[in-house]
Symmetry: C2
Subunit: 601 residues, 2 copies
């Protein structure tokens, strides 16, 4: 993977050019490489050897504490000690001022080694980043800084048992207590939060929850809809304004752990806020401090959600990558069968490694095109984040808009196709792949979560077709189309890419037409009835574009370059044509699904 | 499901007409219904409540015995006591002379309740059926009869650690010992067999293994290739010609259990034959009796394999069906979100059941089209078996040929698409679906086996494109095309089906052209490089045909009929168009995969 990563960063994204920017002035190819070296070593030594253990020794709750394998404690400690939680932060926050794209490239190694063991890091970083953007100075100083230092870990608490995809139905109440608390306006929260990853553990002395809740109106009622949602920072243990533990336990109690299909190394919790299990200040109610303004909770949270969605995408990619590497290694070593030649097969000859069979190569090429393409996409998004943060005003605005339209793809596409990669990895190993003696079955189980959390596939489709491609009069989609056309322009002079150029141009035109047709009647219920097939087609368009980019970047006749050319060709020959089937129902506003009646099932 | 099953059997396949045949003369709609009632009750009482237990209490080996949950013992006993193992056998064998199609319809209930707990039955029945076809009278009397009676269970032992898909590399040796044994020519076997389902357990007093092995030539060497393979019946405990246990243990020893991703209720074993753990007659070597002629082992075994492949298909379908029912029930009860109307959503209104969302209905319709279509396909194949067994000569020959071309589809298509149904069921349940508190994650794990065992997807593709569609000058494909065209003829007068008729005719023509193009150069390595995409396209063509058949059979405006029409429309609108992408690489003989080099990965 390192060679591909270096290719993507250096030859394709040209990250070296970032050193010219003031924020990254201390960095160069060497410092970037050192970060990757560190992550690669940590992944190999602290995470990969324990990934199966984190699955079999599922977290358990003894009524008082949640127990995780010691290996998880040690791996996360090593991650923190290497300064990786704060990698992209300011020097004054203990950070390294790394570009996001380098931070993400480093994270790729960790995720590939154990996405579940490292889940705590992604949540903590996202939580602290949100507080940096929307918290008060005291909140940044007390909470975010201690999170970046790895002293405390963080969570995001959105869902409730009755409110998963429908956040407008959040019912956790926040009653005001003291508007003048140094840590921010103080409230008492009461409600139940579901699916809280990292919600309980003993790895750090405190856990910082970011919680969506509603402040009741003068009539004591909660405002319906998302407008009523505010955001609160709720520590598991209360802290002083100086950032020390006060010694008092907040009223946040673990109600139970979820027992999952996979991704078991990350605890997943049902948390009760304010049920009276603990009585801070002598009374029930979880103490929380308002972050940002009342009613703007969801807006603030989306700061974390977008980051989390790209993080989910990267995790999905790296699970796919892990399976690809495992099945490639197996295919090279496992003898089985013989080549089909003009004269059939000669059973008297020794068996050949299965990598020589066309169908096995097909399964490996599919995986390669999914996982390398997916990795390129996630790094491209991270590079856009850097542009949004450090580019000039126009470039930053463009990057921000492109991120809007690419985030649903960065989240959903690998969740679907790198899961498929994991299934193909099992298939390459055959019966062995179906046993727990090999890692590929765990990758597949772990990866199945990614189409669900941080916004399901259905939600991503609605976000893309219902919001992102129509926002600002379709400006984000136009920007993306301009980028795709620019790639096509660059590829035009290359005869070897002529077919690919035509196919990509045709696919882009089809997406454009389907988008227009979907909205031709202006009726959301008609347009959005096929939002998921639209999401699938859009994702394949984006990946085809990425692969044309990579084919352009991988020049020459080296084995490495030929591999990239082959994967690009695979994607165009075997994958891109699938968009026609998906777009047909979008363009015709096929009404079957919305007209279907319960009684007919 | 019962309503759909009755519709498929009575309205579509008209099984009542079978009563006119001598073999089924005692049967009628009532006796058929009674069998289904029995199976439905057994499934509900003895299997379904323990399916999760069979997963969590995985079989374990204490060094002497393999332990299964008591519930599995009791469920299999109840199955045997109801006479279901011998359902389609002659009266004189203790059977009921049921048509295969009825037997399979009954089995559908059991498989839906617990495919893994009931795996032993499928193997035993297949084993005994093979002996009925190819065994000597003594073998039928001693082994098959006791298997049908459920006194002993059976297995099939093909794979070895170094010979999975490549059976020509079977290395188990069979040395002649006594040509005049009353149970058949007696040999001593020595070798290791892998992936043996049902290979060890204590449910029955004996286990009857059917084992592929090679008889050495005069030079002591094994003949390379499949021609050298012979078939032996090898009991775990030796038996007398009178069918009683002799008291002596055969030299068959469990080397270990495989620990699987799913399907855990069926033991899966590594068996050592003839390693000397036991010494029947005072010496090492597993005692086995030749079945059929030397060198014809694979031909005999395929008798069981074809049956097993349709059985695998049914199992895959029923896992899909179980997930469909679970997710449908959940979607009807779970409130979340609100309808998208022209004015957006009104958060002040109560939440609505998720079955009202178009995307949820899409996921349910997809499942419905996969699992009901898949069930129809498996029953159709079973009905063909009845035709092959009891039809007049021409009809029997035609049915046999159709079965040849449909078996790879009956096996592979549900393995892929009913697995996808299981994934959609998880998605409908969201986070809950990802927990082990709901059954859908287990269905998905269980179903992942079906693309692997009894011939992988890759093997099915080679069988279809490399053998079945070209055999007898393409006669099987022509027959299928004639059947499809007959359906089209019947649908022509129905205006509501006009679009479907055109689409099916076009798809059939595309398959015909792609088949020709694939073989245009006559080079197997060129044709077969894309055998798997061909298999996928062919499967979707067959299912589209099945759905047009069902749309024709489901007349009227009842909710039931409208559901079938909607599922048919779903399949044609959302699924059938996928064949273009698959066939493009087949028709162009896309050489990418076979030309790909190891070093380029």
């Amino acid at each position: 993977m390192r060679e591909t990563l270096d290719f993507l960063l250096n030859d394709w994204l040209r990250v070296g050019e970032l050193s010219a920017r003031e924020r990254f002035a201390d960095h160069n190819a060497e410092t970037f490489g050192a970060v990757l070296d560190t992550c690669e070593r940590l992944a190999r030594e602290k995470f990969a050897p324990f990934n199966r253990l984190a699955d079999t020794e599922e977290p358990h709750f003894d009524g008082e504490q949640v127990h995780l394998p010691q290996a998880t404690h040690e791996a996360m400690r090593a991650f923190v000690d290497a300064g990786l939680l704060a990698g992209s932060q300011d020097y004054e926050l203990g950070g390294m001022q790394l570009p996001c794209v380098i931070e993400m490239a480093g994270k790729a190694f960790i995720s590939k080694a154990s996405v579940a063991m490292s889940g705590y890091a992604m949540l903590t970083k996202g939580n602290a980043n949100l507080l940096m953007a929307h918290g008060s100075e005291a909140q940044r100083e007390v909470f975010a800084k201690n999170e970046f230092a790895g002293r405390w870990f963080g969570t995001m608490c959105l869902s409730e048992p009755q409110a998963g995809s429908s956040l407008s139905d959040v019912a956790t109440r926040a009653e005001p207590e003291d508007a003048a608390d140094p840590l921010g306006p103080r409230y008492r929260l009461k409600g139940n939060k579901m699916w809280i990853s990292g919600g309980e553990h003993e790895m750090t002395e405190n856990i910082i929850h970011l919680v969506l809740a509603k402040i009741p109106g003068p009539d004591g009622k909660l405002v319906p809809g998302t407008r009523g949602i505010s955001l609160f920072v709720v520590p598991k243990k209360l802290v002083t304004p100086a950032g020390e533990l006060s010694g008092e336990r907040n009223d946040v109690a673990l109600a139970g752990l979820n027992h999952k299909l996979g991704y078991r190394g990350t605890t997943n919790c049902l948390l009760n806020f304010g049920e009276g299990r603990f009585k801070p200040g002598g009374k029930a109610g979880a103490v929380g401090y308002l972050v940002g303004k009342p009613g703007e909770g969801l807006k603030c949270m989306f700061h974390m959600m977008n980051e989390a969605r790209i993080g989910v995408g990267l995790g999905a990619v790296m699970l796919g990558y892990a399976g690809y590497e495992a099945s490639l290694e197996y295919a090279r070593q496992r003898p089985q069968g013989r080549a089909i030649g003009p004269g059939g097969k000669d059973a008297a000859q020794p068996q050949r490694p299965i990598i020589e069979h066309a169908d096995v190569k097909r399964m490996l090429l599919a995986q390669k095109s999914y996982v390398e393409g997916g990795l390129a996409l996630e790094l491209f998004c991270a590079r856009l984040v850097d542009e949004a943060n450090t580019g000039d005003a126009d470039a930053a605005a463009e990057a921000t808009l492109l991120l809007e339209v690419l985030t649903p793809i960065a989240k959903s596409w690998p969740s679907e196709w790198c899961l498929e990669a994991n299934s193909l990895a099992i298939q390459v190993l055959g019966g062995y792949g179906y046993t727990r003696d090999f890692p590929v079955e765990q990758h597949w189980r772990d990866n199945r979560l990614n189409m669900i959390h941080e916004g399901t596939h259905g939600i991503q489709g609605l976000d893309l077709l219902g919001r992102k491609v129509v926002m600002d009069g379709g400006r984000a989609l136009q920007l993306l189309a301009a980028r795709i056309n620019a790639t096509i322009e660059r590829a035009l002079p290359r005869p070897a890419l002529a077919e690919r150029v035509n196919e990509l141009a045709a696919a882009l035109a089809k997406i454009g037409r389907a988008t227009k047709s979907a909205w031709a009647t202006g009726a959301p219920e008609e347009a959005l009835a096929n939002a998921t097939p639209y999401l699938q087609a859009f994702g394949h368009l984006v990946l085809a574009w990425i692969w044309l980019e990579l084919a352009l970047a991988a020049e020459g006749e080296s084995d490495f370059a030929r591999g990239k050319q082959a994967a690009a060709r695979y994607f165009f020959a075997y994958e891109l044509p699938k968009i026609d089937a998906w777009l047909a129902v979008v363009a015709s506003r096929e009404p079957l699904c919305r007209e279907m009646q319960d009684a007919w099932f």
